[in-house]
């Protein structure tokens, strides 16, 4: 197993003392590769927290250039980067925080053409896409390739998160067995809501990789920050799920 450098021991000093984590957990993070599907309101914060925690490598997939309307929540984008590729801005900001991090950028969203290859490169996926087309593709490939997937989502002041351990817990198609027709691409969003569930998503990824605590597999954690209500609901696998059964 890889060793931690003196610099890494110094940077991660305050998390190395977390019970159940320690240097062994830190080494696991250093050896891990995580795919983040879109680095928008959710994915920016997931990536930033994972960079801070010492993940070894990230694959960031997000197409398009930075727009003014991104800047209320996509915290790896800046005003100075308007009109330039989002993934380049994300890489630049993440390396400012953690220059040891290896980053592969893909200036495209997840699609039928790239989903299988992207998933094959990583150990864990954090899905932060705003379209169910992309989410179902990630879910299918994660199940097929037996890679853990953390699914984070939000709307207005609401958010939810579920961790999918293929072969062990319900997948996204168990949760949504038919097409979620109600969902629309444009949605009301505060960056702080995206950021809140993104931090939970980053923590789930850290737990999966390091074997720390209990992950939200088979459980959906949903929250409404308007009244601070939180629900944790057991989600069962469907016997007839076309993806994971």
């Amino acid at each position: 197993m890889t060793q931690l450098t003196d610099k890494e021991k110094a940077v991660y000093e305050w998390q190395l003392t977390v019970p159940g984590f320690g240097e062994e957990g830190q080494k696991k993070l250093k050896e891990a590769t995580v795919l983040i599907s879109r680095v928008g309101g959710l994915g920016s914060v997931v990536a930033y927290e994972l960079a801070a925690a010492g993940i070894g490598k990230m694959v960031l997939a997000h197409g398009g250039n930075v727009k003014p309307s991104d800047l209320n929540r996509q915290l790896l984008m800046t005003d100075s980067w308007l009109g330039k590729p989002r993934v380049d801005s994300a890489k630049r900001r993440l390396l400012e925080l953690n220059p040891r991090l290896e980053i592969e950028t893909v200036n495209a969203n997840v699609s039928e053409e790239n989903a299988a290859e992207l998933v094959s490169k990583v150990d864990v996926i954090v899905d932060c896409a705003p379209l169910f087309e992309e989410r179902f593709l990630m879910n299918r490939e994660a199940v097929k390739q037996k890679k853990p997937l953390v699914d984070c989502a939000m709307y207005e002041l609401e958010a939810q998160i579920m961790t999918i351990l293929p072969g062990q817990s319900a997948c996204l198609s168990c949760l949504y067995p038919d097409w979620p027709k109600a969902w629309k691409r444009e949605f009301p969003v505060f960056g702080a809501v995206s950021g809140a569930v993104a931090c939970l998503g980053a923590m789930e990824a850290i737990k999966v990789i390091a074997g720390l605590g209990e992950v939200l597999s088979g459980n959906l954690l949903s929250m409404d920050l308007r009244d601070m209500s939180f629900y944790k609901t057991k989600i069962n696998r469907r016997d007839n799920c076309p993806i994971c059964s």
Partner: protein
């Protein structure tokens, strides 16, 4: 008996409220519950819950006292029970 119904996301938007109280029988099937909830609501609300053939959309999550209701078997209700009707979300 009085049952608290809570809505999320687009359902909450179209219902115009995040929660309401309903008078329900002791035992109710999910499909019948959802048909009851549609009464007095707009067409968009109905279209989120039911497809064009008036079949319940499977992507709508129904949570009764923190337990997912997955089939159309009868839910046994008690006074002040809470049922959460969740509309699917994918925002990032």
């Amino acid at each position: 008996m009085k049952i608290k119904i809570k809505y999320t996301a687009q359902l909450k938007k179209e219902a115009g409220t995040g929660e309401e109280w309903k008078d329900m029988e002791v035992s109710v099937e999910m499909e019948d519950l959802l048909k009851e909830l549609v009464k007095g609501k707009n067409e968009k609300f109905q279209n989120i819950l039911f497809d064009e053939n008036n079949h319940r959309r499977q992507s709508i999550l129904v949570i009764h006292n923190n337990e997912q209701v997955v089939s159309n078997q009868a839910m046994e209700l008690s006074e002040n029970d809470e049922i959460l009707i969740m509309s699917p979300i994918a925002g990032g």
